[in-house]
């Protein structure tokens, strides 16, 4: 496809601004721009055609099954978009007086109330921009907590080897040393945990269900052990979709959490954001939660409040507000029964898919899973030379988005499926049929899967070239 620059024609342009109705001010020559200023020049019709075309080369949930594990690609209700585009939400300044933005504060306040009940936390801040940012913030709260007690020795964070890459990375951003512990049967190995626990441990990061889709039934022992050494327990809530109304991270012993609102709470993922990594904590950590916080006064008004012990701010204002608007819309729509129904069916769908596929592919840890499960395709690689990526690329030919590949790292040739609750049985049955056919193709070699996809505008990409000879911007050929 052509780039917008390649469609540019000198002096073409779009919408004109209102006429300048004040005297023209010209900037002083000494500071004026003296290098070419290169943006596309394009008429509205050509702009529209360009991005309309691009949009059609982009597969979204609206186009089909999208079981990207650990990402909760559920249906994005259109009502969310309508609400998020109300002028009363889009056209307000973050530095207005609180009295002028009571509605916005109410959105935060109500969302906090509901999500505290869902997670068993006492407070939530919506400032972080996405899950990883929530982790960064949550660990910082833990760091600040320890330091506030005069405990400056706690410089380690324990993370299981199955963890998402953002976990160790966020710990490192907080200056922590990352202690990785190996898993046993996909779960936390209590012995390994014991080995690394001491009074230099700031805390443990865990997601439960974990990235294998398994619920760690030892969770109470795990968190108890960490607590007994004075460490805190951080919950990566990316997988909350599995347990809403079933159990609360708070009850599992977690002190601090983040939630991926864009995942569990149905905001369209926008090609990779914006999201919200809402960061929640128990009462004793509240002093350290990000500033400002939103409270309800005894006059029933909403107001800001600051804490002197807070870790401060992680984004300039209050985070991705319009995503929280979508979240609240979704929460109000679903209500208590709806949320439970989500989790029941997210788990049901994953197990159904797992059971239907287990005779064809090897399930990494084949037992009742939560909202996702992982296939181990190493036998396909060994026997037929077909890798996980080949199966994925072939799925594309059948108008499905592939699952997450090669994650978690502890499974070889991993394919991680998360169907979510918004897919029906018919869709799953069709997916099973297609995957079984692909398996036959892999085994028989009737189709060369290493060359898939075959039916789309683009064939497989040369990723090595991209990294070796980086071209990261368009430069006019002269």
């Amino acid at each position: 496809m052509e780039l917008i620059f390649e469609k540019s024609v000198a002096n073409h342009r779009c919408t004109l601004l209102p006429k300048l109705d004040v005297p023209l001010y010209e900037i002083d020559k000494s500071v004026a721009r003296d290098t070419p200023f290169d943006l596309p020049e394009i008429a509205e019709i050509d702009l529209v055609r360009h991005y309309t075309k691009l949009s059609k080369e982009t597969f979204g949930i609206d186009d089909g099954f999208y079981p990207l594990g650990s990402c909760t690609m559920k249906y994005n209700p259109k009502i969310n978009e309508t609400v998020a585009s109300l002028k009363g939400f889009t056209d307000i300044s973050p530095i207005s007086s609180p009295e002028d933005v009571q509605g916005a504060l109410q959105v935060y306040y109500e969302s906090e109330q509901v999500l505290c009940e869902v997670t068993g936390m006492d407070h939530i801040s919506f400032q972080p921009g996405a899950g990883a940012h929530g982790e960064f913030s949550g660990l910082l709260i833990i760091k600040k907590y320890h330091q506030s007690r005069g405990d400056f020795n706690r410089n380690k964070i324990i993370i299981p080897d199955s963890a998402h890459g953002t976990n160790p990375a966020s710990a490192a951003m907080n200056g922590f040393k990352v202690i990785t512990i190996p898993s046993k049967d996909g779960l936390v190995d209590l012995d390994e945990l014991d080995k690394v626990l001491d009074d230099t441990v700031a805390g443990l990061m865990l997601t439960n269900p974990n990235t294998l889709g398994l619920y760690d039934s030892g969770i109470l022992e795990i968190t108890k052990k960490v607590h007994s050494y004075g460490g805190l327990c951080y919950y990566d809530g990316a997988n909350l979709n599995a347990i809403m109304g079933v159990c609360k991270p708070g009850a599992m012993g977690f002190d601090c959490i983040h939630l991926n609102l864009h995942k569990t709470f149905s905001t369209p993922h926008g090609g990779g954001g914006p999201g919200v990594g809402a960061c929640g904590c128990r009462d004793f950590l509240y002093p350290f939660l990000m500033n400002p916080r939103i409270i309800k006064t005894n006059k029933n008004e909403y107001a800001f409040e600051e804490s002197g012990l807070s870790v401060g701010k992680v984004t300039a204002f209050y985070g991705n507000f319009l995503i929280v608007v979508r979240t609240l819309t979704y929460l109000k729509h679903l209500g208590c029964n709806g949320l439970r129904e989500v989790s029941d069916n997210a788990v049901l769908n994953a197990n159904y898919l797992r059971v239907k596929l287990k005779d064809t592919f090897n399930v990494a840890f084949d037992k009742i899973c939560m909202h996702e499960f992982v296939l181990d395709l190493s036998s396909y690689k060994e026997k037929y030379g077909i890798r996980a990526i080949d199966i994925c690329k072939r799925m594309i030919d059948f108008d499905m988005h592939p699952p997450t590949m090669y994650f978690p790292l502890i499974v070889h040739e991993a394919l991680m499926f998360e169907p979510t609750e918004t897919e029906g049985k018919q869709t799953l049955d069709k997916v099973v049929e297609i995957l079984k056919n692909i398996a036959i193709e892999a085994k028989s070699g009737s189709v060369d899967l290493t060359k898939a996809p075959y039916t789309k505008s683009y064939k497989r990409m040369d990723e090595v070239k991209a990294a070796r000879e980086p071209i990261l911007r368009y430069v006019h050929e002269k």
Binding site: P40, G165, G272, Y318, H333
Partner: protein, 440 residues
């Protein structure tokens, strides 16, 4: 009301196929004591129509001002409708990070265009495809400059205080020593800067136009800093790019900031989008997603996520940042906005902002009791000194449904005027300032 598709009968069939009796059995791994005994204590769900009404009611509790003179990090600009229409096409909106390039070329190319345009605005070599917001962009830029030996950072007091707050947070996290450089006449005090420089300083962070609306003397700051091997990180309002010397041409090492003025609604502070661009040498230190050009098997030009060795999913604790989900759709909206405005249009927006703020400033300074606090060149914001009660001024403005300037202190206020404000609206604002002057 949960968007669950399968019927109860189908669910029953699936449970049977799985080999369990009911959904409860699926949660057998959850310890009994952890399992909820009662439903969540939240309201029952209601239909989307009722939710819409409810949310409309909440939205109506936010006041929609007919005009505004408040900026300070979040700006009201004119956004062509075509920008909103295009950026919310369902393919763009309902996809995720483009891990599967073959069916994500639209998003990938959009990001590549974003990177290219950001580079063009600032004469930089490489840009990432977005970070959370402008403040975290500055913080990430700060982290990029750190080395084993250099763990101190200078930052200008004239930076937006919210941005200062965020870099302080990041500095605390990474155990970085932050040193404040004082201001003089609203700008970074070059003397104080020189004083505070040392071998352990990795970078100086500035903002231009700064919090008070003023342009910093970037050339001078770069010269002094580079002499001592200190990098310069500049936070910038991208809208000024068409008018002023580019950071790249002035030698700035990392340019970053908030792209909200490029087509994003104020939306009570988000979603916005942070951008970061730098010189080629720092390419592999950039955090976040980067899109690169390549070819597919048939040699067709295409785009993929690249240089992933920097990122958390590969490098884990050694990654340059933990960022994963970024602000892709906001960035896409910016790129469409820049396309819609185009080379000439963006310059015109910038010129209108500058002209209108100067018109307003001149008119204000003619009124008894109001004066410009700092003398430097400014863009679309400026600081007014006045002895009158600023809260009183703002209350009077509110009564006319006008959002007044930001009160900075007892007797100074930050006035913002952009192309979105008509002369008529400016004049109405001025008339209130006059009124206050007359009555005081």
């Amino acid at each position: 009301m949960s968007y669950v598709v399968s019927t109860k009968e189908e669910q029953a069939q699936m449970l049977k196929d799985i080999g369990v009796k009911n959904t409860e059995e699926l949660f057998n791994d959850v310890p009994k004591s952890v399992l909820l005994k009662t439903p969540l204590n939240i309201k029952e769900g209601v239909s989307e129509f009722e939710v819409l009404k409810d949310m409309e009611k909440i939205a109506s509790k936010n006041r929609l001002f007919k005009s505004t003179f408040r900026g300070a990090g979040s700006y009201k600009h004119l956004i062509p409708e075509v920008v909103k229409h295009l950026s919310s096409i369902s393919g763009f909106l309902t996809s995720y990070t483009p891990y599967q390039a073959e069916i994500s070329q639209g998003n990938l190319q959009g990001m590549f265009e974003f990177q290219s345009e950001i580079c063009n605005l600032f004469d930089m070599d490489v840009s990432n495809s977005s970070v959370y917001d402008g403040a975290s962009a500055v913080a990430e830029a700060m982290l990029m400059t750190l080395t084993n030996k250099k763990n101190k950072i200078l930052f200008s007091k004239s930076i937006n205080p919210n941005v200062q707050a965020v870099i302080k947070t990041y500095a605390f996290a990474r155990n970085v020593e932050l040193i404040e450089v004082l201001s003089k006449d609203g700008c970074l005090d070059i003397e104080d800067l020189t004083l505070k420089m040392s071998e352990e300083v990795s970078a100086v962070i500035i903002q231009s136009p700064n919090y008070y609306g003023l342009l910093e003397d970037i050339e001078e700051i770069v010269n002094i800093s580079h002499e001592l091997g200190i990098m310069v990180v500049e936070s910038v309002n991208p809208l000024i790019a068409p008018l002023v010397k580019s950071p790249g041409s002035l030698g700035v090492d990392i340019v970053c900031g908030e792209a909200q003025p490029l087509g994003l609604d104020r939306a009570f502070g988000g979603p916005y989008v942070g951008f970061m661009a730098t010189k080629k040498v720092n390419m592999r230190k950039l955090p976040g997603r980067i899109v690169g050009q390549t070819v597919d098997e048939e040699g067709k030009r295409a785009y993929v996520l690249t240089l992933q060795a920097r990122e958390q999913h590969i490098r884990r604790e050694k990654a340059s940042s933990s960022i994963c989900t970024n602000q892709a759709n906001s960035a896409l909206r910016c790129v469409i906005y820049m396309g819609a405005m185009g080379k000439q249009g963006l310059k015109e927006v910038a010129t209108q902002c500058m002209s209108k703020s100067h018109y307003a400033c001149n008119e204000i300074c003619r009124i008894e009791g109001y004066s410009l606090k700092y003398s430097g060149e400014f863009f679309d914001e400026f600081t007014i000194h006045t002895p009158y009660d600023i809260d009183e001024i703002n209350n009077r403005l509110r009564k006319l449904n006008i959002e007044g300037p930001l009160r900075l202190s007892k007797c100074s206020m930050l006035v913002c005027v952009t192309e979105a404000t008509s002369r008529e609206e400016i004049d109405e604002f001025i008339s209130i300032l006059k009124e206050v002057s007359r009555w005081s």
